[in-house]
């Protein structure tokens, strides 16, 4: 049993460490320059956002339209703690995530108790309220935003948080909790007739997803020097949603791939922002026509298991 588990996980471990080493080394050697690195950081943040929204929208089937709002809560919390209180970065990351999670609880509890699309409406409104709030709050710089002089976010932190997000959400999904979430997505009434506490699991998934959006927000705030209300508008939420839909509602690896693709496209098309939105829409239409479930559907990328034992030496039962 244990052996088998190790054999299945080893390829992922090698991949994870390998990617990390390759990027670290090439960046140290100057093959990847600062411009490359900031884009890699953006990719990491997008992966965190995509995977965490997928937990809510794709796996649990609850339609959140305000993921950027939770990112904003994390970003502003992080900026305030760093700039006004001099918190160390790890504590800031944790607090940013927790702040977003608490807001998630406040929004999720009343709306997710009901069956229906109340969450979409509530999260849509929440994003707008937040924007107006930050614009009018001079403590955090109003519409001009808040400058963050400490550039704590680097490749290592982003990579660590990305991996952490994926591992935590994957483990959640593989547990009985995750199966409860998927059952709710499939049919909420049937799920409750199986004895699943649907409100509990909808809220739990929503809080967990919000937490990681908050972490992504903290990373963002300390990567780009400035947080502004405009960075977390409705379009940002839509962009995250596109990652989830393109990658596959219910596929973690799909979200990772889509986050990479979308970020690359958005980097390449930075000079032409309108073209970028057109391209997103086109990609969405094409995927919806040819692969309605998204790139990966509900499947995950599988790596072949590595065998640790030598096959020849194996004993085949007792005679």
């Amino acid at each position: 049993m244990r052996q088998e588990l190790i054999e299945r996980r080893l390829p992922w471990l090698i991949l994870t460490v390998g990617v990390y080493l390759v990027i670290s080394v090439t960046s140290a050697l100057g093959i990847l320059n600062d411009y490359h690195m900031i884009n890699i950081i953006t990719i990491g943040i997008s992966i965190i956002l995509g995977v965490s929204l997928n937990l809510i929208n794709g796996f649990t089937g609850q339609f959140s339209l305000g993921h950027a709002g939770f990112m904003a809560v994390g970003a502003y919390t992080g900026a305030i703690l760093t700039m006004k209180f001099g918190f160390p970065f790890p504590a800031t990351l944790l607090c940013g995530g927790l702040a977003a999670a608490v807001v998630g609880l406040v929004i999720g509890l009343p709306t997710l108790r009901l069956r229906g699309d109340y969450l979409a409406i509530a999260t849509l409104g929440f994003g707008e309220i937040l924007r107006v709030l930050f614009i009018n709050w001079s403590y955090v710089g109003g519409a001009g935003g808040m400058v963050v002089t400490q550039r704590y976010t680097n490749f290592h932190w982003v990579y660590a948080m990305t991996v952490l997000t994926i591992i935590v959400i994957r483990n959640w999904l593989q547990s009985a909790h995750g199966r409860a979430c998927v059952a709710i997505r499939e049919d909420e009434i049937a799920a409750s007739s199986m004895g699943i506490n649907t409100t509990l699991y909808k809220v739990a998934a929503f809080i967990l997803g919000s937490f990681f959006a908050g972490v992504a927000g903290v990373l963002y705030a300390h990567a780009y020097y400035i947080v502004t209300p405009a960075s977390f508008g409705f379009l940002k939420s839509v962009e995250i949603l596109i990652i989830v839909v393109l990658g596959g509602m219910g596929s973690i690896s799909g979200s990772v791939l889509a986050a990479i693709a979308i970020t690359l496209v958005s980097v390449i098309f930075t000079p032409w922002p309108y073209l970028r939105m057109i391209l997103y829409s086109l990609a969405l239409i094409i995927v919806m026509v040819y692969r309605p479930g998204g790139l990966m559907g509900v499947k995950e990328i599988q790596l072949p298991a590595l065998s640790l034992k030598k096959k020849e030496g194996q004993q085949v039962g007792t005679p």
Binding site: A176, R179, A180, V182, A183, E186, D187, I189, A190, A191, S192, S193, M194, G195, I196, N197, T198, V298
Partner: protein, 235 residues
């Protein structure tokens, strides 16, 4: 075992779906609710299982007042409903659907045993363990819905129109299995359009009309009553 006393259910402002409805189900019985479309059969089951809240009245199950309990707690108490229209988890495999039926249980060995029993009751499911449930035929989906409910080890199993949309032969098969489940010790509350079949396997029955119980008796008596024959048995 189950005692429903004077429940009133309203939808929105206007619709008074259940009017002072009372019924009893005893340990080991098969009790059937028959009535025309819209009579309130599903509303009755949904109220018992906690999906719909009554404005007044009470539901008592094995000496426990479950009227205000949330749906998942009612399942925990040993009462499981196979909802109208099956509601299987379409994208998950047959096996996973059954596993989710045992969601509240921790006893791995007993779960495996019950799974085996479900596959024995429904050999067609055994042949399709790894198939996504949404690709099963209507009849197979109904079997899965019943099997999934059995996995929760219910004391009382409530079935809402298990014969809906099935060919006559399959209907017979399903009813035979319902009887078999009952003989193995599970009490059954059965809602049916197909009154003839329902009365043929039930011990007792209730006839519902626009949210009221208009008649109740043993199944064999009901099957002979003129009004019932005319209205539900086609003469």
């Amino acid at each position: 075992m189950l005692s429903v006393q004077g429940i009133n259910v309203f939808y929105g402002k206007g619709i008074h779906a259940l009017k002072d409805l009372s019924l009893e189900v005893g340990q080991g019985e098969i009790v059937t609710l028959i009535g025309a479309n819209g009579a309130g059969k599903s509303s009755t089951l949904n109220t018992i299982s906690g999906l719909v809240r009554p404005r007044s009245g009470s539901v008592v199950f094995r000496d426990m007042d479950i009227t205000k309990l949330p749906a998942h707690k009612i399942v925990e108490a040993g009462l499981c409903q196979v909802p109208e229209g099956r509601r299987i988890f379409a994208n998950l495999t047959v096996q996973t659907n059954l596993e989710l039926g045992a969601y509240l249980r921790k006893d791995k060995a007993a779960i495996a045993r019950d799974m085996q029993r479900v596959y024995e009751l429904f050999p067609r499911l055994a042949e399709r363990k790894q198939q996504p449930a949404g690709t099963l035929s209507g009849g197979e989906q109904q079997m899965l819905a019943i099997g999934r409910a059995l996995m929760s080890q219910p004391q009382l199993l409530m079935l809402d129109e298990p014969s809906m949309g099935l060919a006559p032969l399959l209907v017979k098969e399903i009813f035979r299995i319902v009887q078999e489940i009952n003989r193995a010790g599970t009490t059954i509350l059965l809602v049916e359009q197909n009154a003839r079949m329902a009365l043929s396997i039930a011990h007792r029955g209730y006839v519902l009309e626009t949210g009221r119980v208009v008649m109740t008796d043993s199944a064999s008596v009901l099957a002979e009553v003129d009004e019932v024959r005319k209205a539900y048995l086609g003469g």
